[in-house]
């Protein structure tokens, strides 16, 4: 599974760095290093007013914040892997 976090200007200002950190932690905690490749991307083209855009394989999710991160990760990452 490839997870791309948008680090373009718009998302960067809305906390890409935090989301990257949370993702790295979550991957580690769930021992998914072999399953998941983390990558950056400069603009996925879905700039949102709130939160960061994250692409999981072909699916694009907008508005990811540190508050809703857990929910996003469980639903769109863990669920799909298990």
């Amino acid at each position: 599974m490839i997870i791309q976090v948008c680090v373009g200007s718009s998302c960067h200002l809305k906390g890409s760095a935090e989301i990257v950190e949370l993702l790295q932690k979550a991957v580690e905690e769930n021992h998914l290093e072999n399953e998941i490749t983390l990558a950056g991307s400069f603009c996925i083209g879905k700039c949102n007013r709130i939160g960061v855009t994250v692409q999981v394989d072909d699916e694009i999710h907008v508005g990811i914040t540190k508050e809703n991160f857990k929910e996003f990760f469980n639903e769109n990452v863990l669920n799909k892997i298990n």
Binding site: Q4, V5, V7, G8, S9, S10, H12, L13, S16, A17, V20, E21, A39, G40, S41, F42, C43, G45
Partner: protein
């Protein structure tokens, strides 16, 4: 139109801009080949000359400018080119005594001349013996009446690497082996007889063929000196303008600078001595004039290449266009190490022409955001910024066993002095930051405007960065 001229320092830049704008305008409409020969007449209509002896010469020169706007002479490998017929063959007699010489008693000029080149006639008026004069300029400095002047050509004065000479037809001629493509002569020639080749047509083509990102995504990589440019509008409006024109997104070259600062600090600590490699004109100068020092050039790519490479690694479907103040970047982009990553280079001057060729008035646009890099990456745009960034990178990486002794060289003359000392093992420093343009990149020939305020603008822009540390800025990349 009269408004547009305020966007530039000189009328030569404005003229060059008009040519670029018309060439690009025709290219957008796919009508360039049909209308090519009409462009000079469009710029100088009527029968009255406005710049030269007659409209016909003006138009002849303009058609040469059109050629350069279309990429210039393919036989000439240099990105800087002389328009022979535009060269006014300025007097080039060197130091001369003018009518202002009052035939004084002091004769300071004679006393200061170490070569005994100055003699006096029966009116006590000074004369310079050309066969003895070495053009040191001391006599001109000491004359209380400023009666001695240097009739050197502005291009030759601008070219500190001495690549310009005068050919048998009395026109300026560039020695390509010595030229660093810094563009100083381009900016200084009062007749606009020297110009940087433009790749604006390649850019129009790249934008068109991308079809709004359907075929590939076009990334604009902008140099941090942009903060001192387009001052009549907001930076955020420039970003919107770029996207409106067909760019997928805009990324700061300063993020590449952040990456470079980190690895430069490590390489320096490991090797013990380095010269910077960010400024392509400085690198080219070392290669041509100090070949023995070539092994000491940092092995880092320039920020332009570093970030473009990263973009292409993360997006296989990307094409990159670097937009900056620099004519030497056009030469750098053609080198093996850069070619696969950088698809075209545009100057700020050319970007202005490109906006106007599409009638995009950036002042009417909404503001977008630009934020990828740290304070340190952004201040690369001015002299001393690279040194500050490496200092910070050493600190952030806890490199404690190495004592950093940098020397920041502002302009190619300071670079020459430091390199000369290094070649004689007499340089009390272990890092040379070399910037070919005085002031750093903000002094680049491709800037729309050059001014005292520009350094402050870069620092202000640096402080506005969301990330204050280099590590924070590049942490998102891994």
């Amino acid at each position: 139109m009269s408004n547009n001229i305020r966007k530039f320092d000189t009328k030569v830049q404005y003229l060059k801009y008009k040519v670029l704008r018309e060439v690009a305008r025709e290219a957008w409409h796919d009508t360039l080949l049909e209308n090519l020969i009409d462009i000079p007449k469009k710029i100088v209509p009527g029968k009255t000359s406005t710049m030269r002896c007659c409209v016909y010469k003006e138009r002849a020169i303009l058609s040469e400018r059109v050629k350069i706007a279309m990429g210039g002479d393919p036989e000439n490998p240099n990105v800087i080119e002389v328009i022979d017929i535009a060269c006014d063959e300025c007097p080039a007699a060197g130091y001369e005594v003018t009518d202002s010489c009052r035939g004084c008693l002091a004769h300071r000029c004679e006393d200061v001349c170490k070569r005994g080149a100055i003699s006096f006639d029966h009116n006590h008026v000074a004369h310079i013996d050309k066969s003895k004069c070495v053009e040191c300029g001391q006599c001109a400095k000491v004359c209380p009446y400023s009666a001695i002047i240097n009739r050197k050509r502005p291009c030759q004065i601008a070219c500190k690497v001495k690549a310009i000479s005068i050919n048998e037809d009395n026109a300026a001629s560039i020695n390509n082996d010595k030229c660093t493509a810094c563009g100083a002569c381009v900016y200084q020639c009062p007749f606009g007889a020297i110009s940087d080749k433009s790749y604006i047509l390649n850019v129009v083509d790249l934008i068109k063929k991308s079809e709004q990102g359907r075929n590939y995504k076009l990334y604009a990589v902008v140099a941090p000196s942009i903060s001192s440019q387009f001052s009549y509008a907001k930076l955020g409006q420039v970003i919107t303008g770029l996207k409106k024109m067909g760019f997928h997104t805009v990324v700061e070259a300063a993020l590449g600078a952040d990456m470079v600062a980190m690895s430069e600090a490590r390489e320096l600590a490991e090797k013990g001595f380095l010269t910077s490699s960010c400024c392509p004109a400085f690198v080219s100068y070392i290669k041509s004039d100090f070949p023995d020092l070539v092994p000491l050039i940092s092995h880092n790519c320039s920020p332009m290449v570093e970030i473009s490479k990263y973009i292409k690694e993360t997006d296989k479907n990307a094409k990159t266009i670097f937009i900056g103040p620099c004519t030497a970047k056009k030469a750098e982009a053609q080198l093996e190490g850069a070619k696969p990553y950088v698809d075209a280079v545009l100057t700020f001057e050319e970007l202005q022409a490109l906006f106007d060729s599409r009638d995009i008035d950036i002042t009417s646009l909404e503001e977008d955001v630009l934020d990828n890099a740290s304070y340190y990456g952004r201040i690369f745009a001015r002299s001393g910024g690279l040194t500050d960034a490496v200092t910070q990178a050493i600190k952030e990486q806890n490199i404690t066993y190495f004592e950093f002794k940098p020397v920041s060289c502002d302009g190619i003359e300071e670079c020459r002095i430091a390199l000369l000392k290094k070649s004689k093992n007499a340089l009390p420093a272990n890092f040379i930051e070399g910037m070919a343009c005085v002031g750093g990149c903000i002094g680049g020939a491709g800037c729309l405007t050059h001014g005292e305020k520009n350094k402050a603008e870069v620092d202000k822009y640096g402080k506005e960065a969301f990330e204050k540390n280099i590590s924070d800025a590049i942490s998102v990349l891994r």
